[in-house]
Every structure is written in C-alpha cells, then in structure tokens.
Amino acid sequence: MATFRFLLRKLAADRTAALGALIVVLLVAVAIAAPVLSTHPEDVTEFHPPERLLGPSGDHYFGTDRMGSDVYSRILFGARITISIAVIAIGVSVLIGVPVGLVAGYYRNWASDALMRVSDIFLAVPQIVLAIAIAQTLGPSIENVILALSATYWPFWARLVYAETRSALNETYVEASIALGASPWRVMLLHVLPNISSSLIVRTTIGMGGTILTAAVLGFLGLGPPAPSPEWGRTIAESREFLPEAWWYATAPGLAIFLVVMGFNLLGDGLRDILDPRTRRSTDG
C-alpha cells in the first residue's frame, strides 16, 4: 500500500500523467454513471425519426443522429462498451501472454523456443489486419471483437514478459533463490513476476489505448456490435453520409475516442517515468 501511495503522489506531481489519470478515471465514472448522466437514456434503443439530425442544443448537447436519438446519451453508453471490450481483451491477453512469456523465459529448451516462434508468427502479421480477419470470420458482435483483440494482443505480452524474464534470471537474487532450492514456480511467481510488474503495468496501460483504438476501427468497419449499439466506431461510420452538414454527429464520438486514447497514453507514459526509469522520456531532461 505504501507503494501505491507513493505512485499517487508521483502521479500528482507529473502534470501530463495526472491529466491522463484524470481522463481515465472520468471514463470509468462516466461508464458507470451513464444512466444518471445521460439526458435521454432510452435513446440507446429508441428512435425518434421526426427529430433526426438536429444540431446541438440545450436538450441535445451533441445534437441527434440519423434516427433522432440523442448523440450525447449514446456516447455515454458507448463508454461502457469501450471499457468492457478493452478491459476484457487486455485481461485475456495478459492471462495468456504472461504465463507463456514466463515459462518460455524461465526454461531454455525447444518448448520455450516453440512458444516464442508461435508468438513471432502472430507478431509478423499487422495486428489490425489479423483482428479484422478474425472478426470478419466470426461475425459482428462484442464477444467476437473481444476474441479477435485477445487473439492478436497476447503475443505482445508474451514477448515483453519473455525478455524481462530472461534479464531477471541474470539477477543474482534470482540465482540465489534457485541455488537455495526454490521450485521453478516459486522463482517465477514470487521473484521474477513481482520484479517485472512495473514494466507490465506500463505496457498494459499504454496497450489499453491501442486496444480501444483497434476496437473502434473494427466497429467503424462494421465488425463490432451490430446496430443499434452505441459503440463509438460504429457511430462514426453511420455519421459519414451526413457530413459535413451534421458535423456534431461524427465529432462527438471522434472526440471521445481521441480523449480516451490520449488519456491512457499519457497515464502510461507517466507510469513509465515513475516505475521504469531506464526508459525515461527524453523530454523531461
């Protein structure tokens, strides 16, 4: 807990990281409180064709969409979809990638080579292309987006943990535990993992931004949850034909994606400065 408080204090001192943290906290708060904050919660599923494509006003902060639904309310509910996709996809990637990387890094035999070659193959194909292919094959739904993202993201964690484990094994304290007779699992889980956790946390935070962006791309391409889902990428895709007249229709979800991705990246950068001083940004001198 002392480390957590230390982290908070450091974050507060770094202005850009604090901004990132604030955006992330707001995103979570908005997603949880969407029914309370939204002005027209029923518009997630309801249409009001007579009110379609109205500009921003006191009643509709971000105007209405092609079905006459309130864009502001739909964006708030879209945050829920975005968060659940990102959290679950990253969680699954970490759950697959971390054990793979740990085991492949700890043992030095053909099995660990095989594991790393498999993740190399995944990394050789651009992640977005692979995700599109998987999502296209499985059909549009939230579950399939999560599946496509997890299947393409885990090799990043496997690679990271593999490299970090290999360098941790050169540390004397790891060797000392092995010399003492500690079991491989004990060494991996109690010595290696805690000592590589900071770079893991940093990459996971930055990875959240990337995952949200990729999820939005899949939604934009129609591979995300089907209509009338308020998913942000899908909303932008729907708004295209009404540009530039109904500018608010595309701007609102675009701004939401931009803010959230930037928030995670700023937070990740800040965490890296605090937790992983070896790779400090060059800008802070």
Binding site: T172, Y173, A176, I178, A179, L180, A182, P194, N195
Partner: protein, 335 residues
C-alpha cells in the same frame, strides 16, 4: 590443527564432506551466428576434497574459475564432466531444486550479498524463504528460527522489516549468511566474502565466520583473492590458474614454501612491511592467456620465468612431492 593429514585432505581423515573428482565446466563460445566456435574451459579436471570442520581456501586471479568451481558444485552450473559427491551422495547432475533434500546441507553465499537479496522483499521474508523451501515448520516456528539466527549473526530484530537497500554492506553480508544458516548446513561455500568491505568491517565479518564455525560446526570453502585473509583463516589452500588447481596444501606450507612458480609469483604480490616494493619483487608479466584458446601443455608456461620446451608437451599432473603439499609443475618433480 591436525585435522588434515595429506595435501588432498582425503588420506586418513576419513571425514570427507565433499569430494570433487575431475570436475569440468566448459562454456561454449559462439560467434555472431550463434555457432559454437570453441569452448571456454572455466574448470578443467579439478579434483578436491573438503574434510569435515576445515576451512579450504581457493585462491587465484580474477577469471581463474574460483567462482565457477563454487557455482558448479552448487548445481547453479551444470558440470561438463566429473563428479561431485557430498555427504556420500552423488549430486553431480542434479539441480538445487531436484536434489533439495541432498543439497540442503550444502549452501552458498554470494559475492555481492546486496544483489543476492530480492529488492522487493523485506529482510524477514528473505530469511524465511529457505525454511519455507526446505522445512514444514509453521509460521511461528520459522519466526523463532529466524530470530535465533539473526541474533547469532549480530543483527537487531528491527532489521526484519527493512528492505535490502536500507542496510549497510556489512549488514547485508550478515543477512546473506543468516539466510543460509537458518537451514543449519554443514558446508558453506563463501564466495569472496570480504570483498567490498572496509578493513574494520572485514575483521568483524571474519571473526563472525570463525565464531559461527564453532557454534554451528561448519565447514567452509573460502573463495577469495585476498591472500592475507586466506592465510589467516584457512587450514588448507588450493591455488587455481585458468581452470586448474596448480597447488594444493596446508596453508602454512604453501605460503612459506610455495612450490609452483605461479604460487610463488602470487605470494610475491602481497605487500609486506620492510620488504621491497611489489614492483621490485613481482615478476609475473602480462595477462593470462585467453581461456578460450589455451596454450598446450602447462597453462602457465607462457608467463612462467622457468618454462622449458618440455612444458609445452604435456599437462603436468597435481602430485604430492612433499607431504601435505601437492603441485602441478614438471620442474618441481625434477628438482
């Protein structure tokens, strides 16, 4: 100190705790394409025995294989050949984890005890770990054992809640020692136990080693390049040069009448009050040869002032030419 009768320590004493037979450790040398282009012979046919209760010093220059010897015996490195017999059990090809019941009494302290403690673990947890691995004691019993050891190495109990970086180098050394003593081992390999400590701390740590030896009935293998310290506390000493033992015998004999030219040059390098400057007495020239590309025959011949053509023909064996002292030099056999 008549525990040791012969130079190799085995003869007559009957109490061999550790026997090393022809131990080899070769590291592959690889080129940029990871193809093996040769072997680095860090240990080449090393045979030693350690009798119960003695302190065996292992000395030599940096890179001569002292630490590799310790780590190969410990199972941290897998030996390329030879045998390691501890307490009558062959533990040659076992990892510390696989053979943890056989290896429990054989423990190793690191050269840098600060680095050998997990930076994220409090001292108390690090001291507790060996007991968790090797015993079925409950938490209270483990705590009691850790407290007892802490007192024996002279550390206050408050240190249990500190992190390794919060204590001094000498205290880290004590923690490193306490960590393995909780298991009550019989043989402890001390790897450069006094390096990086200032002289006064060195003295207290050495006294601590000797006190603990009496208290826990310990046997030490004392790896060091500090000849003065070795002379002070070791019963026997093994001199290593490029992966081979070149001289082995009782400490006072080796130090007073060194027989191998390498030992002679090493001893000439100890500064002594009233004697000439080291630069005047030290005649060992040049660097040791590349361990990946060793000279034929005697490895020392390239730097040996007494080298003869026949030194290039055969590797001289370690032979006990005088009682209690063996050396590996052809000229020593003739003269």
């Amino acid at each position: 100190m008549n525990r040791v009768s012969g130079a190799t320590g085995a003869n007559g004493s009957g109490g061999d705790l550790l026997r090393i037979e022809g131990l080899k450790k070769y590291f592959p040398i690889r080129n940029a394409w990871k193809r093996r282009i040769g072997w680095l012979r860090a240990l080449d046919d090393v045979s030693l025995t350690v009798a119960k209760g003695e302190i065996l010093g292992v000395v030599g220059e940096s890179g001569c294989g002292k630490s590799t010897l310790g780590k190969t015996v410990m199972g941290i490195h897998r030996p390329s050949g030879g045998r390691v017999v501890f307490e009558g059990n062959d533990i040659t090809d076992t990892t510390p984890y696989e053979a943890r019941s056989l290896r429990r009494d054989l423990q190793y302290t690191y050269q840098d005890p600060g680095a050998s403690l997990d930076p994220r673990w409090k001292i108390g947890r690090s001291l507790d770990e060996p007991l968790v691995i090797h015993t079925n004691l409950d938490r209270a019993a483990r705590r009691a054992a850790v407290r007892g050891i802490l007192e024996a190495v002279g550390l206050p109990e408050g240190h249990l809640d500190l992190y390794p970086h919060e204590i001094s180098g000498g205290q880290q050394r004590r923690v490193g020692l306490a960590r393995i003593l909780t298991l009550q081992p019989t043989l402890v390999v001390l790897d450069e136990p006094t390096s990086g400590l200032d002289v006064s701390v060195q003295a207290t740590i050495l006294n601590l080693f000797l006190d603990l030896q009496k208290q826990f009935d310990l046997t030490y293998v004392f790896i060091s390049h500090d000849l003065a310290v070795v002379r002070m506390i070791c019963d026997r000493v093994a001199v290593m040069y490029l992966g081979k033992v070149v001289e082995l015998g009782r400490t006072e004999q080796v130090f007073d009448r060194p027989r191998h030219p390498y030992t002679q040059s090493l001893l000439a390098a100890i500064p002594q009050i009233g004697k000439g400057r080291i630069t005047e007495t030290f005649w060992l020239e040049g660097e040791p040869p590349d361990p990946g590309n060793l000279p034929s025959g005697c490895r020392f011949r390239t730097r040996c002032p007494r080298a003869e053509p026949r030194c290039a023909d055969a590797v001289p064996p370690l032979v006990e030419h005088v009682a209690g002292q063996a050396d590996a030099c052809l000229l020593s056999a003739g003269g």
